[in-house]
Symmetry: C2
């Protein structure tokens, strides 16, 4: 199995990308090969510094870079030899089974839609993020930014997508799906969350437990937290800032340390025909490594096929 | 000056209400009198336990109680001798200059609209909440739950209301107003936040600094954080849960301790003709006391008149 990494993506690329890829290659030795995609001149010397540890890594050249500030759709279409475009081409042709990048988030989304494409039946793919649970384990929250505005049917599908991920990748047997809202009662919220509630309630593929509130993010009420990308994005960035504040104050605690994005390394795009993960711009080698391990887990679990089968009907 | 408290509101009422009122009466001695509103049989004995310390408190009888789970509008209209209804009557007639309650939030909102009413020109009053800032001071965020769905014009008004509060009550000279969004760029967000951005940008009464993100809640970018009540409610409850988790872990830090709702004690309703504050259901005596002190600050600042003058034009 091959897992690809955009060697040019992220604020500290290519150094952090190469270092993280070497870490992941060690962790996945005998199970998967890491494929680095990027400018050969920049990446080769960094790989050589790692000596024998980097022997198993494959380097695929890509001459262009989509910068963080570039317009996603325009850059993706104009830079067909960028590391992101080359990565998605390899993913679409099946040369690799997952593609990870800490680069331009918008370009990663555009690439997903243009190359591997949304699963037929999925209205809009979503970006998922992980939520540490106070009593152990991880929950999954989606959407966290791909879709600022969501129709009720989209929220319903996010419940299904998240439930499948929780089941097949996180190993949660009967994932509890909760709808983020401003009150627990059925009639609470916007017209959209009210309608989504009714759809989720009768969806036979999921175990819907009703509305949850902001205070339920870290408790055991729901394994899958459904929300529009606006709300999810605000919540995610707020949680990250809380972690940064706590870390800066040198406060350490096994639970609070799980807020660190490095622990998971990236956010999967769910609802596309293949496995793609978007990493944080500031990704460290540890974060890159964990993103690649997550890519391996996704690919091994066959989650993309599970999603395709569910939405076929 | 008289500041009124619903003695029957909150999970630990009337005990916590009476104890908190006595604390506030001591703090405001010579400046304001606390008026307790509630069932005489229940409140009088508790007051007597405080002896001389409670001598300056006034008790106004109200025979009914609106329970936490009751339907707000129905309960408010049917229980005209409830502590909340009596409190609002006293506020509307000018017998007291602020009314505070840790009781049924919905009933407090309904009462505000029915009795003291929205300021002419204000489309929808909002509930505001306070956000501790990492480098000191407090910011204000609104709406946090009165309006799940907001038109762009409502968000614009929240910017004005919050700015006036920050100026006249928090003493911030030229409050920076930020619009909560999923990206900093002007074109980001939903159709509603995009339109609100354009309105806020040209509003001459405020100092708009643009979009902010979830990570900017606690930094110095904005003193006034504008958002719809859905987003604000999720953020507020999430922040409360983070504080609870940290407190349970016995982690203490001067900044993190400010997340404690007790420190401010309540959320003002802004955009009505008078001063009303809603406290947390679990309010302790300290929280009740601080809510009353906030009521005194609001009344002293003349914030309600400032809002009326601004929206008259």
């Amino acid at each position: 199995m091959k897992i690809a990494l955009d060697a040019m993506g992220g604020d500290f690329a290519p150094q952090a990308a190469v270092d993280g890829a070497v870490l992941a290659a060690e962790a996945l030795a005998g199970k998967a090969q890491i494929v680095l995609i990027g400018q050969e001149d920049a990446v080769r010397p960094l790989l050589e510094q790692h000596g024998a540890a980097a022997a198993d890594l494959q380097l695929v050249p890509a001459s262009q870079i989509i910068e963080m500030g570039e317009h996603p759709a325009k850059a993706y279409q104009q830079k067909q030899d960028s590391s992101i475009a080359v990565g998605y081409k390899m993913l679409a042709t099946g040369e690799v089974e997952a593609f990870c990048s800490a680069g331009n988030t918008g370009a990663m989304l555009v690439g997903a839609m243009f190359s591997v494409k949304a699963v037929p039946g999925v209205m809009r793919p979503a970006i998922a993020n992980f939520v540490p649970k106070l009593h152990g384990g991880m929950g999954i929250m989606l959407d966290v930014g791909a879709n600022a505005e969501c129709k009720p049917e989209m929220l319903e599908q996010f419940g299904e997508l998240g439930s499948l991920y929780a089941q097949y990748v996180l190993g949660i047997e009967k994932p509890k799906v909760g709808l983020m809202n401003l009150g627990e009662e059925e009639g609470k919220g916007t017209a959209i969350t009210q309608a989504a509630h009714q759809l989720l309630k009768v969806n036979p593929h999921i175990h819907f437990i009703g509305n949850i509130e902001g205070r339920d993010l870290f408790n055991d009420k729901a394994d899958v937290i459904v929300c529009d990308g606006f709300t999810g994005n605000v919540v995610l960035k707020m949680a990250e800032s809380v972690y940064d504040i706590i870390a800066e104050k040198n406060i350490h605690d096994p639970f609070l340390d799980k807020f660190n994005y490095e622990a998971v390394g990236g956010s999967p795009i769910l609802g596309i025909n293949d496995n793609a993960i978007i990493g944080h711009g500031v990704s460290t080698p540890t974060a890159i490594c964990n993103m690649l391990l997550q890519g391996y887990q996704m690919a091994s679990s066959g989650i993309a096929d599970q999603i395709k089968n569910t939405f076929k009907s």
